[in-house]
C-alpha cells in the first residue's frame, strides 16, 4: 500500500532529498572520469561505487542528465536477440531491470507487456524461428506464434494489412517490457550521488590528455582534470570523443526518429514491432502511442525531425491499425544512433591504456543500460574486459570476427 504518500499529505513542507548534487566546481583529480551522464554513464558510476567501492568518480555531462539517447528512445526492454552472446548479454540486462525499482527505491514503471515481432514474408518467418530457437536454447521465453495467438493478444490489429503482405506469424517474447527511461537514469544517478560520486552537468569534454599510450587527464569547458581512467559512454557523441585520441572505429551516426500521439485511454497492453513495415509501437503509461521506425538513410549529427519520417511511419501504421487514423500525432523528436557494421555494441578496453569504450548502441542501447553499467564498472575496476562483453571488443573488426546479430537483421527485413 502506498503508505509513503501519507507522509507527503501530513507534512506542510516538501523536504525530499535531492536526486542530484548542486552544481559545484570540478576537483583537480578523480580516480575515474565517466564521459556521458545518460543511463549507461550513471549505471557505471552506480556499480563502481556500489560493487567496487570506487567513489572518487566524476560523471561529466555536456547537457543534462539523461538528455541524450536515454531520453529519446521508445523504452523497449527485451532479450530475444539472435546470437548466443547477444542473448546472454541482453538477458542479464533484463533480469537486472526487474530489480531496479527495489535497488533504487524508485518506481521506474518497469511494465512487462509481451513483445511481438511480426513476420510478413517466408524469409522473415524463418529468421523469427532462428531467433526463437537460439533464445529457447538459452532459456529465454521466446517462440514463433501463429495468427491465432497474435489475434488473442492484439485483437484490433488488421493481420491482412489492408490486403498487402499479410502477417504470417510472429516471434513472441513474453518478458518484453517497457520502462520509464528518464527514471532509470535518475535512479542510477541518485544511487551514485548518494554513494559519493560527483555529477557535473553542463560540462563538456574538449580533450583527453595522454602520455605515450596512457590516459593522464581530461580537459573540459569548466577546467582540467587529472585522472588515469576515462570511460566514454556518450553513444551518439562517441566519434567526437574517440577522434580526440585518434582512435578509429566503425561507428557512424544516423538520426533515429520517433513520435507520440495525443494521449488516449489505454487499450494496447503489448509491444508490436513489424520487421518489413519498419515500425514499432507501444502505449505509454500516460496513454500516448509511442511509435518509431528504422534509422534515417544518411549520416547526420543532429536530432532534427523530418516530415517524411512521420509520413512514412503513419502510412505503414495504418496497415496494421486502421483505427489509428482518428488519432493525432502530438510531438516528434530524434536521437543520434551510433551504428556499427554488425549491429552489436563496442565495449571494454581499447589500445589506449586507461581509456575504455561503451559505444555502438545504435537502436538497442536503452535495454542494455543495467548490464553495460555493471560490466563496464567491473572492466574499469579490474582493468580487464568482462567476459560477458568480450565478444563486443573493438578489436573484433580488425580480426574479422564480427558478432552475428547482423546475420538476422539484414535477412529478416
Amino acid at each position: 500500500m502506498p503508505w509513503r504518500l501519507l507522509k507527503f499529505g501530513l507534512k506542510s513542507t516538501h523536504d525530499e532529498p535531492r536526486f542530484f548534487p548542486e552544481a559545484k566546481p570540478l576537483k583537480s583529480h578523480y580516480d575515474v572520469v565517466i564521459i556521458g551522464g545518460g543511463g549507461h554513464g550513471m549505471a557505471c558510476a552506480y556499480y563502481l561505487a556500489k560493487e567496487h567501492g570506487i567513489t572518487n568518480v566524476a560523471v561529466l555531462e555536456q547537457g543534462y542528465i539523461g538528455g541524450g539517447n536515454t531520453g529519446r528512445n521508445t523504452t523497449i526492454v527485451r532479450s530475444n536477440y539472435l546470437t548466443p552472446e547477444g542473448v546472454k548479454f541482453y538477458d542479464t540486462s533484463l533480469k537486472l531491470f526487474e530489480d531496479l525499482a527495489d535497488d533504487f527505491d524508485l518506481n521506474i514503471f518497469y511494465s512487462t507487456r509481451g513483445h511481438f515481432t511480426l513476420a510478413h514474408t517466408d524469409s522473415a518467418l524463418r529468421t523469427m524461428r532462428w531467433r526463437a530457437e537460439v533464445n529457447k536454447h538459452q532459456g529465454i521465453e521466446s517462440e514463433v506464434v501463429g495468427r491465432e495467438e497474435i489475434a488473442k493478444a492484439v485483437p484490433y490489429m488488421d493481420m491482412d494489412c489492408a490486403g498487402h503482405a499479410p502477417v504470417m506469424g510472429a516471434l513472441y517474447h513474453a518478458p518484453g517490457s517497457v520502462a520509464r527511461h528518464d527514471a532509470v537514469a535518475w535512479g542510477y544517478a541518485r544511487g551514485a550521488y548518494n554513494r559519493g560520486v560527483e555529477i557535473h552537468q553542463k560540462t563538456r569534454v574538449t580533450a583527453i590528455r595522454t602520455q605515450g599510450d596512457k590516459v593522464v587527464g581530461v580537459d573540459t569547458d569548466r577546467g582540467q582534470i587529472s585522472c588515469n581512467k576515462v570511460i566514454s559512454m556518450v553513444a551518439g557523441s562517441t566519434p567526437r570523443i574517440t577522434s580526440m585520441l585518434g582512435l578509429r572505429t566503425p561507428i557512424e551516426i544516423f538520426p533515429l526518429q520517433a513520435c507520440v500521439s495525443e494521449p488516449v485511454k489505454p487499450f494496447m497492453d503489448t509491444i508490436v514491432v513489424s520487421g518489413s513495415l519498419h515500425v514499432y509501437v507501444s502505449q505509454s503509461s500516460r496513454g500516448e502511442m509511442v511509435m518509431g521506425a528504422s534509422v534515417d538513410p544518411s549520416v547526420l549529427h543532429s536530432t532534427r525531425s523530418s516530415f517524411d519520417f512521420v509520413e512514412g511511419l503513419t502510412d505503414q501504421m495504418l496497415d496494421l491499425f486502421p483505427f489509428m487514423s482518428r488519432m493525432k500525432v502530438m510531438r516528434q523528436w530524434a536521437g543520434m544512433s551510433d551504428i556499427t557494421p554488425d549491429f552489436a555494441p563496442i565495449m571494454g578496453k581499447t589500445p589506449i591504456d586507461g581509456f575504455y569504450l561503451d559505444a555502438g548502441w545504435g537502436t538497442w542501447g536503452f535495454k542494455a543500460t543495467p548490464v553495460s553499467g555493471k560490466t563496464m564498472a567491473w572492466t574499469v575496476a579490474n582493468d580487464k574486459t568482462h567476459e560477458l562483453i568480450e565478444p563486443f571488443r573493438l578489436s573484433r573488426f580488425a580480426d574479422f570476427d564480427l558478432v552475428g546479430e547482423k546475420g538476422a537483421a539484414s535477412v529478416g527485413h
Partner: protein, 981 residues
C-alpha cells in the same frame, strides 16, 4: 439568461443557418460558423470538461486551439477540440476522461487527495512490493489518457499535395497581411496562410471596436483578395518548419506540403495566464478568449466581470466587455493605470474602478467562478491581509504574451529575453527566415504594419540574392506588454501553472528543490508542458519560476526544445493516400487465371505455386504441398515453365566491360568465350556474399548480366558506381523491365522449343551454359542454358510486350508433354535437389563464400583484383563453419509437424549450438527429405549424423551427404535427351 449577443460587425456565424447537436445527452443549437465551445456557451453550458489529474471542473481558456480541457469525443472521433472545431449537424458528443458524466464525475474526489499526490509522486511509490505493481499500474493506466479509441474504426486517409511559393507568410494578422501585400506588390509569388477560417487575426477580435483599425482592415483585406500574386490559405495551420523551408500546412482537406524560398513568420503571440489559487475555475479565461467569443461568435462570456491587467491590452478587453453589455466590476492592475495608454483613459472615463498595484490572490466558486479575492501586489507577491472580495462570474487575465516562436527555433533562429519587452524576441535569423509583428515585439497597429513591410522588404532582397542588413528591431515597441511575474503563491495551493497537466506552482518549486533544477529535467520530472497543448500557456511561466528559484536569468535558464507539431496533426492527414508501388510481370493475369497463389518479392508479385483450378480461395497446406510436388515432377519428367521476369537484367558494353565485371564479381568474367555464360558471385568489401547471377558474353565488348530479384537495383547501381570510380569506358543498359524472361525446363524442353525458334538447339552448336540469340515466333530472343533447376532447359529473354504470346504458345505446344507452370516454391525444391544456394536463405548477413562451400568461386591467385579479395584472402584460413548437404532416412515421416525439422532449427552437439538448417524440403525426385545446413567446423567435416532440435524439443538425426543430391554429374542438363524416355 441570454448568452447570444446582437450581431457583431465581424462575426463568423451565419444566423440564417442553425445547427443542432447533442452534448452529454442534451440538445444544443448553434449557428453554422460556431465552434462547439461557442455554441455550448451560447446554450448556457459553461462546464465543458474535467481536468486530467484532479478532475476539476473546467471551461474556456484560450479559444485558440490550446483548450485541452474542452476535449470531446463522438462515436467516430476522439480528442475533438471544442474551441476550434466547427459545429456539425447531428453530432453526438461526450466529455473526455470523466468517470460517469461530466456533471457527476465520480473521480472529482481525487482532487481532495492532491495533498498526498505531490510532483513525481508516482516515482516514489507503488513499486514495493514488486508483485503488487501490476495492480497499481492497471489502476493508473485506467485513469491515464483523455479521449477513448474505438478499435473498430476504419482507416480514413486524406490526400496530400505539394505546394511551392517564393514567399510563405505564416499568420494573417495585421503584420502578416501587410508582409504578404508588400511582397506580392514587389512581384513575389506569395502564399498567405492562417489557422483560422478567416484572415484578420487579432485585428478582428482585439481591435474589433477600434475605429482606426476598421479602415486598415478593409484596405488590407480588399487589396489581398484583389492581388493575383497572393494565394490565400485559410483554416490551415503550419505543423512545423522542416529542412530547406519545408512547411506542411494542415487543413480540413488534408496537408499541403509547402516548399518556400523565403518564410515570414507572422505567427503572433500566445496570451499567458496568471497563476493564482483556483485560476482554473470555469469563468476564468484569457482576455483574448473573451474577445474571440464576442467578436467571432457573438457570445456573451459572462454577466459581471473583473479584468486583471499587466498591460494595455487588458483595458481594451474591458472596453469590449462594456460594449458587449457585460458589467465590469473592476480592473485590477498589477502596476498602475497611470503608465497605461489611451484605452485605460477610456475605461476610467466610464467610471470603472481601477485598483493599482493589485493582483488576484484567489478565485472563488463551486464549479464556476462566483467571486475573486483582490489583494495589494508589490510585483513579487500579495499582501493577503489587505484583501477584499469582488463578486463576479467572469475574470479576464491579460498579463502578458509568449511568442509563437516554435518554428523559429526549429529553423535554427537564436532568440533571447528582452527585459524592456519582458518577452523572448528573435536575435539572429537564418537565411530565408524572417519574423514580424507581435512575435517580433511590434505591438501597436502602426508598428505591426511597418514591421510587416520591413520583413517583406528583407525577404525580397534575399530572394533576389541582394545583400541586406536586417532592421529586425526597428519597429519594436518601447514599452512592455507582459508582466515579468504574474505568479501569486498561496498556502493552500491549487494555483495552476500547467492547466493541462494539473501542475501547481509548488510542484515546480519542489521539483527544482529535488535537483531537477534545469529546464529540461524540470519538464520531464513535473511533466510541465508535456500535455496536448505542449506548454503553450505553461512553458513561459515555468521558465520564470525556475529562473527565480535558481537565481538565474531567463536566458541562462533557457527553454525546452520546440518540437513539431505546432498543433497535433491527424494521422489520416499525415498518412495520406496509400502509395505502395507494385510491379507486375507481363504474365500476371495469366498466372491469376491459372490458380497461381502470388507472393511478394520486393515490389514484384511472383507465383508461389499454382493451386488446382478447383480450389477457390485459401488453399490447405496439403493442397499446397501437393501442387509443389506435382510441379517439381513435371520439370523432372516432362516440362515446366517458370516466369523469371523479376530477375535483374543488365547489358554491359564497351572496351572495359570485361574489366568492370572482373572487379565486381569474384571469378574472372573477362575470359568467358563469346556465346557462353558463367556463374557470377558478388561479395562486398568484407567478403560477405551479397548476390549471385549469370554473366553471358555476347561479343568481345558486350556482356549480359542477370542478378537476383531483390538485388537487381543494387547490382545496376554497383556497376555504374565502379565505372565512375575507376573511370572505365563502359556503358550500361538496365533492361530489368524492358525484357521479360521465362525458364522452359525439362527433358522435353529442346524438342518443344526447337519447333518455335530459328536457333539451332543441337548440343554441338548450343552446349550447356551457352547463350544464343535468334528469333522465337518472330520476336528477337536470347536463349541461355542455365543449370539452376538441374534439367535440360532454356531461359528465354525477350521484349516484355512479346512475352505473354510466347508463354501461351509454349504452354500450348508443351501440353503434349504435360507441361505445367511452376512457381518459386517448386523452384526452391528443384535447386535444392541440385545443391544450389539461395543468397539470403542459405547465407546470412555475414556468410562468406568459404562458409558457403564455394571456395571454387574465389580465384585468389589468378585475379589481381576483385571486390573483397583481401578480406577473402584473410578469411580463407579462418573459416569456422561450412554449408553441407544432409538427408533424412528414407520414409521419415513424423506424426506431427512439431516433430519435423524445419528451416532455422538448430543443430545441437554436447549441449552447444553447432549449426542450423538453412534449407529443407521433401524431394519428390529422391523420395526423401533433403536439405542444407550451416554447420560449425569440425562437426561439418566429421561426416557423422547430427542432432537437430525440433519444435517439440525432441532431437531428430540428420545424415550428412554430398551435394548435388540429384543427377550429381549433371548428365540431365548436359545430355542430348531429344526424346523423353
Amino acid at each position: 439568461m441570454k448568452f447570444r449577443l446582437d450581431p457583431q460587425p465581424l462575426e463568423w456565424i451565419d444566423r440564417s443557418e442553425s445547427v443542432s447537436f447533442r452534448f452529454e445527452g442534451q440538445t444544443f443549437s448553434g449557428f453554422s460558423g460556431d465552434s462547439l465551445t461557442s455554441a455550448l456557451l451560447a446554450g448556457g453550458q459553461k462546464l465543458l470538461g474535467r481536468s486530467f489529474k484532479y478532475h476539476r471542473p473546467r471551461s474556456v481558456l484560450s479559444m485558440a486551439n490550446h483548450d485541452v480541457n474542452a476535449l470531446f469525443q463522438s462515436s467516430d472521433a476522439t480528442n475533438i477540440r471544442g474551441d476550434v472545431t466547427p459545429v456539425s449537424e447531428g453530432v453526438d458528443l461526450r466529455a473526455c476522461n470523466v468517470n460517469g458524466t461530466l456533471a457527476n464525475d465520480k473521480d472529482r474526489y481525487i482532487g481532495l487527495l492532491s495533498r498526498f499526490l505531490p510532483v513525481g509522486f508516482y516515482y516514489k511509490t507503488f513499486h514495493k512490493p514488486k508483485k503488487f505493481f501490476p495492480y497499481w499500474e492497471r489502476l493508473i493506466r485506467e485513469k491515464a489518457g483523455l479521449g477513448e479509441i474505438n478499435t473498430s474504426w476504419s482507416a480514413t486517409r486524406q490526400p496530400k499535395r505539394y505546394g511551392f511559393s517564393e514567399v510563405l507568410v505564416i499568420g494573417a494578422g495585421p503584420s502578416g497581411m501587410q508582409a504578404a501585400l508588400s511582397a506580392a506588390e514587389a512581384g513575389a509569388d506569395v502564399v498567405l496562410v492562417d489557422e483560422n477560417p478567416r484572415i484578420g487575426g487579432s485585428l478582428d477580435y482585439q481591435l474589433a471596436n477600434e475605429e482606426a483599425a476598421a479602415k486598415v482592415r478593409a484596405d488590407l483585406k480588399s487589396r489581398i483578395s484583389n492581388n493575383a500574386k497572393i494565394r490565400l490559405m485559410e483554416a490551415h495551420y503550419a505543423a512545423g518548419w522542416y529542412t530547406d523551408h519545408y512547411v506542411p500546412l494542415v487543413g480540413p482537406e488534408g496537408i499541403t506540403k509547402m516548399r518556400a524560398e523565403q518564410v515570414i513568420m507572422a505567427t503572433g503571440v500566445m496570451e499567458q495566464p496568471s497563476v493564482f489559487r483556483n485560476n482554473d475555475l470555469p469563468g476564468v479565461m484569457l482576455a483574448s478568449a473573451a474577445q474571440r467569443l464576442i467578436a467571432r461568435y457573438a457570445v456573451k462570456p459572462g454577466q459581471r466581470a473583473v479584468v486583471l491587467c499587466g498591460n494595455d491590452e487588458g483595458y481594451r478587453a474591458a472596453l469590449d466587455l462594456i460594449a458587449a453589455g457585460v458589467e465590469v466590476a473592476a480592473v485590477v492592475d498589477l502596476e498602475r493605470v497611470g503608465k497605461r495608454g489611451e484605452w485605460a483613459k477610456q475605461v476610467q472615463a466610464q467610471g470603472i474602478t481601477v485598483l493599482d498595484h493589485s493582483a488576484i490572490y484567489e478565485a472563488q466558486g463551486k464549479g464556476a467562478l462566483s467571486a475573486v479575492v483582490v489583494a495589494p501586489f508589490n510585483g513579487k507577491g500579495c499582501d493577503a491581509g489587505k484583501s477584499h472580495v469582488i463578486p463576479c462570474d467572469l475574470l479576464l487575465m491579460s498579463v502578458g504574451w509568449a511568442p509563437a516562436a516554435q518554428m523559429l527555433y526549429q529553423a535554427g533562429a537564436k532568440l533571447g529575453y528582452a527585459s524592456q519587452a519582458e518577452q523572448i524576441l528573435p536575435r539572429e535569423l537564418p537565411q530565408g527566415i524572417h519574423a514580424c509583428g507581435r512575435l517580433n515585439g511590434a505591438f501597436t497597429l502602426e508598428q505591426r504594419l511597418a514591421d510587416g513591410s520591413r520583413a517583406a522588404r528583407e525577404a525580397l532582397a534575399q530572394l533576389r540574392g541582394e545583400a541586406v542588413v536586417s532592421e529586425l528591431t526597428v519597429h519594436r515597441d518601447t514599452q512592455s506588454h507582459s508582466h515579468p511575474w504574474p505568479i501569486i503563491g498561496h498556502p493552500k495551493g491549487k494555483n495552476f501553472l500547467d492547466i493541462d497537466e494539473d501542475l501547481q506552482l509548488k510542484d515546480l518549486i519542489n521539483a527544482a528543490k529535488e535537483g531537477f533544477d534545469n529546464i529540461e529535467l524540470m519538464k520531464r520530472f513535473s511533466t510541465n508542458g508535456m500535455g496536448p497543448s505542449q506548454g503553450k500557456h505553461s512553458n513561459m511561466n515555468g521558465i520564470r519560476v525556475l529562473a527565480s528559484v535558481t537565481g538565474k536569468t531567463i536566458d541562462e535558464t533557457g527553454s525546452t526544445t520546440a518540437r513539431p507539431m505546432f498543433h497535433p496533426v491527424p494521422v489520416s492527414a499525415l498518412a495520406g493516400r496509400r502509395f505502395r508501388p507494385e510491379r507486375l510481370t507481363p504474365m500476371h493475369q495469366w498466372h491469376l487465371k491459372h490458380g497461381a497463389r502470388m507472393m511478394e518479392a520486393g515490389q514484384w508479385q511472383r507465383p508461389e505455386f499454382y493451386a488446382p483450378s478447383t480450389a477457390a480461395g485459401a488453399v490447405t497446406a496439403a493442397q499446397r504441398e501437393q501442387s509443389i510436388v506435382q510441379e517439381v515432377q513435371a520439370v523432372r519428367s516432362g516440362l515446366g515453365l517458370i516466369d523469371v521476369s523479376t530477375l535483374g537484367k543488365i547489358e554491359v558494353m564497351g572496351p572495359d566491360a570485361g574489366r568492370l565485371l572482373d572487379v565486381v564479381y569474384t571469378m574472372k568474367m573477362s575470359t568467358i568465350k563469346i556465346g557462353m555464360t558463367r556463374y557470377a558471385l558478388a561479395v562486398d568489401d568484407s567478403g560477405v556474399i551479397i548476390d549471385d547471377g549469370i554473366v553471358g558474353r555476347i561479343a568481345e565488348d558486350r556482356f549480359y548480366v542477370t542478378a537476383t530479384t531483390s538485388h537487381a537495383a543494387a547490382a545496376f547501381r554497383t556497376l555504374s558506381l565502379k565505372i565512375q570510380e575507376l573511370g572505365l569506358n563502359v556503358r550500361l543498359a538496365n533492361l530489368t523491365g524492358s525484357l521479360a524472361a521465362m525458364n522452359l525446363a525439362g527433358p522435353a524442353s529442346r524438342k518443344v522449343l526447337s519447333a518455335l525458334t530459328d536457333v539451332d538447339l543441337s548440343e554441338e552448336s548450343f552446349p550447356y551454359l551457352g547463350m544464343r540469340e535468334g528469333t522465337l515466333l518472330g520476336y528477337p530472343v536470347r536463349l541461355i542454358r542455365v543449370g539452376f533447376v538441374g534439367e535440360l532447359g532454356y531461359e528465354i529473354h525477350l521484349p516484355a510486350n512479346a512475352a505473354l504470346e510466347v508463354w501461351e504458345k509454349l504452354m500450348d505446344v508443351g501440353s503434349a508433354h504435360a507441361i505445367r507452370p511452376f512457381g518459386v516454391e517448386a523452384q526452391r525444391v528443384l535447386r535444392l535437389e541440385k545443391g544450389h544456394i539461395i543468397v539470403g536463405q542459405d547465407t546470412d548477413g555475414l556468410t562468406n563464400p568459404f562458409e558457403a562451400n564455394m571456395s571454387w568461386a574465389v580465384p585468389l591467385k589468378s585475379k589481381p583484383w576483385f571486390t573483397g579479395k583481401p578480406s577473402l584472402a584473410r578469411l580463407k584460413n579462418s573459416c569456422e563453419r561450412r554449408l553441407i548437404g544432409f538427408r533424412l532416412p528414407q520414409g521419415f515421416s513424423p506424426k506431427s509437424s512439431s516433430e519435423m525439422p524445419k528451416e532455422c532449427h538448430l543443430i545441437i552437439q554436447d549441449g552447444e549450438i553447432s549449426g542450423r538448417i538453412t534449407s529443407i524440403a521433401y524431394s519428390p525426385s529422391l523420395g526423401r527429405i533433403i536439405g542444407l545446413a550451416m554447420v560449425d567446423l569440425p562437426l561439418a567435416d566429421a561426416n557423422v549424423p547430427m542432432q537437430v532440435k525440433v519444435d517439440s524439443g525432441a532431437f531428430v538425426a540428420i545424415e550428412p551427404c554430398a551435394t548435388p543430391f540429384y543427377d550429381a554429374d549433371g548428365a540431365r542438363q548436359t545430355a542430348d535427351l531429344t526424346e523423353v524416355a
